[in-house]
Symmetry: C3
Subunit: 270 residues, 3 copies
């Protein structure tokens, strides 16, 4: 696919999300639940948060996508995440995973590695250090860090995707999306996004919305990131800091037109 | 009572809330806790969130109203909800219930039906599908959906209130409040309210604030909904999307004057 | 130290927070997690929320400060708080404690008293009634309430700090910070801060950020409160209510320059 095809398909996915309002089942952290729900609503999707062992399977089964985020986890939540994943896998519901804080504590690193190895995860969305923490080859993957060159980062991202056997999105000033072979680079966004909690979690949830309507994980992921990046760039215009940026971002996600996304040129192959 | 009496009494309740700051004990979901607390503060009430089995009875006993919301529940929370309800019932503290997601999973539907049948609930605030899910006569209550005529919806709402033996508020583009006999229709609000998470939960919490100072459940409920609807209409003026709408809504709840509510004409009998 | 030295040191602390981004480990309540994280980010710190028994020690050990807040607690969380405190004490990581709702229920009062007596707490940040609830001498400490004179309040605050054997910050229209001997009075802020949930929790978290870079608890605490008060005063200019105030506050925390803090004159000895 040429580059413009990716943004074109992202625009089509956005239109479909708005017309069909896919249900996105989130098992996510306490810090961002509200932002995540609002970002999904602004995009056009229907968010639901549910984490009880006794209902996650039922909820995952009727969802268009399942989003798992370990930002504030404990043992009970891990069990619910695994039950929900297994059910989603059985039902063909795509699972998107956000390994928040992998590398910071054993609990997070091990939970992340376990989920990715035992379950079928369509996309892992992480920052560079979290992605590296999930691999056994720290050496080979170190280059994904934003202090390295674009080519080094792309190579390292490929290594990570191959080891995790899934599509990996490593977000930062520029986002990389790869299945271990093709690498898509997604530009956009604004430095203020790093000053608002849960922006990465929002990205992950939006990948959930896009993958609910666009079956190709690479296309869905790059599309969601281009959409968030474009909204972020627009939101930053005329805002005064991270408070007003957050408000403007929800407005921008809501108001962004598919044709703006189709022509934004944010996705580049390679 | 004539129609104007309802908005007049709503205005008086709002004044009392602002002068007495009733304590509203919420056992609610993680997604909306912050919004709910802020809406109650903007209204003039004193919110408290507490869910531990070991403290809910003590908290419910000193509250002006107890608000139960099952948006993100699990077994432990259900037990705390029941303990708190029982204590509130013993102490004459009115209980308002929000069956978030009833119908979506067994856990939610059964918990909702159990709470309403075992405890004394003053008001159930729900959307149409949640309200229908709580009744055993799906057929008779189907008409409450907003796709049906006003008269069909009113008839179905009455059926639901009779079966649940409580005042029921079914919110949507137009809200219906009924005790199974009289039906009050409350207008106001704005479509953007459906694009912000937790608007229904905010409505339920505000019913808690009003019922803490206005003993008649019908009057308190219709008053709270008229107040929120009026604030929503005002907030929508000049906002750019769901982000700025949320901000403007809190400002509007805070700034709305009792005399504006008294004369808004939002409550109609029948 | 003269008064100007305190704001001068606050300004230096703010600069250090922005350049070093200390990791602040929060075990806090569900209502404010998002606000707390955003306030810490706006200040320049790196917030993390983690509450699982199996990871809190690891997280506390790598943090610049540990912030404990009992706003929505249960037995499991209490155990995690104690484990995290103990580890922080062992590692020399300062602990800041917010006894939300102490006095309202036994669980909260007893947990607060237990934490302060068993662990080494650098600073307790509370409102007057919470601080009084933690002491055994209700009589002696009653005067800390804002209905009493400045001198009575200062005397009562000193008593509380002596009994709790820690620095105590009692916030209200004017904040008092004392180690039982010196009393610092911090002015600033705006009445709208009482209409937004979690402002006290934000204050506590910011004390965590300041104490991570400024070892003297009195200086760090007064500095953090002066910073929040100054940002609150600025945020209130031109805002329309508690919704727009919250947004403006995050912007103000982000934009406030160290030189503004150095010269604000908000801290007075005595």
């Amino acid at each position: 696919m040429s580059t413009d095809i990716y943004t074109q398909k992202a625009a089509e996915a956005l239109e479909t999300i708005r017309s069909k309002s896919p249900l996105i089942h989130n098992i996510t952290n306490f810090v961002v639940m509200n932002n995540t729900a609002n970002a999904l609503l602004a995009c056009g999707a229907s968010p639901v948060m549910a984490h009880a062992r006794t209902e996650v399977e039922e909820m995952a089964a009727i969802a268009g996508a399942l989003v798992i985020n370990i930002g504030t986890l404990n043992q009970k939540w891990i069990e619910a995440m695994i039950s929900a994943c297994r059910k989603a896998n059985d039902m063909g519901v795509p699972v998107v995973f956000d390994p928040v804080g992998a590398g910071a504590t054993k609990l997070r690193t091990e939970t992340s590695m376990r989920l990715v190895s035992e379950q079928s995860i369509a996309v892992v969305r992480a920052n560079a250090s979290e992605a590296m923490a999930m691999t056994t080859q720290a050496g080979a993957t170190k280059g994904v860090d934003s202090t390295h060159s674009v080519d080094q980062a792309a190579g390292a991202a490929r290594e990570i995707a191959r080891e995790l056997r899934t599509v990996v999105a490593i977000t930062g000033p520029e986002d990389l999306v790869t299945d271990g072979d093709t690498v898509l680079r997604v530009s956009g966004g604004h430095p203020l996004m790093g000053k608002v909690t849960g922006m990465g979690c929002t990205a992950t949830a939006l990948v959930g919305a896009f993958i609910a309507v666009e079956p190709d994980p690479m296309t869905a992921t790059a599309g969601a990131l281009a959409y968030l990046g474009l909204a972020g760039s627009k939101a930053a215009l005329g805002c005064n800091g991270p408070g007003s940026f957050q408000v403007a971002l929800l407005d921008a996600l809501y108001n962004l037109r598919p044709e703006d996304l189709a022509t934004c040129g944010a996705i580049i192959v390679g």
